[in-house]
Symmetry: C2
Subunit: 234 residues, 2 copies
């Protein structure tokens, strides 16, 4: 799956679409937000998987909702039965406010700078709000490397979530780039899979040596960080 | 959302489609399977949410995979980094074998008998293999109340997963029933949502007083058990 020493260097994509949550941001601190309100920290991962499950389910059913709405709804379900230390609404607000304080992984600022230095256009594409990516990159001092922060939702409508082909296609139309000229970069195999099926090139970021599931379409490239990705595309 | 005392009794559907995992089966013992192999029991919920997320993501991307394949792939990801007490393949096998030993919730056998007694045709429709539902109902002595155990997958192909409209439509075509004559019964709001959008009537089973998320289409009926559902449809 990954290209090692001595293998041909892939041609550079004209544009990279970055996933945001977990791919750029380190979501580990959200576990602390759950603990703050009296819930087990491990519930953070269950909750986030359920947000993606429900959001993508709406897309599969031909509907859609905004990320913030699904995150709120799934959080109330996840916290049901937990002995919280404060009223439910306050607990929900405290956990969700954690999104606004997340930071990028240690490799992100250097990796974005290196990729931008290769002349590749860099854009983010999230199922969440564009403002979250804007603020995240701003805190990292890396906003200038990124041409635009896009979302599957906009002011008018929620829109289909990734990995529906239309989610990638809409973003690429806005950038004026054909699918085969673009590369989706994500830590989530389901996102890599959807982008590959939509005709994009793909790179999977595997920071911790996790296995890649066989049910997802393989990534063209596997890299251990954004810095490693820039090295492979040099 | 639910109909209380004094409200009109809904007409009976000709056929009920039951979701299987968690709706009929009590999946709580799977947490013990995780603990058996040295993993936190809470990881069972995270893993199951990730299986649905990845399976539905494939459907949203226009692809599909069998439940067993997605369950295996997501389990290897979930167990990554866990200090297991046995080799990974054996741990995966031990957890997945737990599906074959699950039992129905305490209300299921009586509820199915009561619903069958009302002259309603009863069918299961799972994103998982039909054989799992067959065996589950067999262990409960309730197989005779159910006309057929259907799955979105068959011998030839994996097929689109619920909540895609086509998953419900295929099952109803096999039963010779129109959507408006059928009722989907599930504990999962995303399943209720998809069925409602596909034109079916819906009932949400809420055994533990969980909140219903606002991002999902409301259920026509909410019942606390299958016995309660039979009472409402009497």
């Amino acid at each position: 799956m990954s290209r090692g020493y001595g293998e041909p260097v892939p041609t550079r994509p004209a544009l990279i679409l970055f996933d945001v949550n977990e791919t750029l941001s380190d979501m580990a601190p959200l576990a602390g937000r759950f603990e703050d309100v009296g819930a087990p920290g491990g519930l953070a991962r269950t909750w986030f998987a359920s947000v993606l499950r429900d959001g993508v389910a709406l897309t599969a059913a031909g509907a859609s909702a905004r990320f913030a709405e699904v995150a709120d709804g799934c959080l109330r379900v996840a916290l049901h039965g937990v002995a919280l230390d404060r009223p439910l609404d306050e607990a929900v607000e405290h956990v969700l406010a954690g999104f606004a304080e997340l930071h990028v992984h240690p490799d992100v600022a250097e990796g974005l700078e290196a990729l931008a230095g290769l002349g590749i256009r860099l854009v983010t594409l999230s199922n969440g709000a564009a403002s979250v990516a804007e603020a995240l990159l701003g805190r990292a001092g890396a906003r200038a490397h990124v041409e635009a922060c896009l979302s599957v939702e906009d002011a008018e409508a929620a829109g289909p979530w990734k990995p529906a082909a239309e989610a990638y296609a809409r973003a690429l139309r806005r950038c004026g780039v054909r699918p085969e000229e673009a590369m989706l970069v994500a830590v989530h195999p389901w996102d890599v899979d959807g982008a590959a099926r939509a005709g994009l090139r793909t790179a999977w970021i595997d920071r911790d040596g996790s296995p890649y599931p066989r049910h997802a379409a393989e990534a063209e490239l596997t890299a251990s960080s954004l810095v490693d990705l820039a090295r492979r595309l040099r």
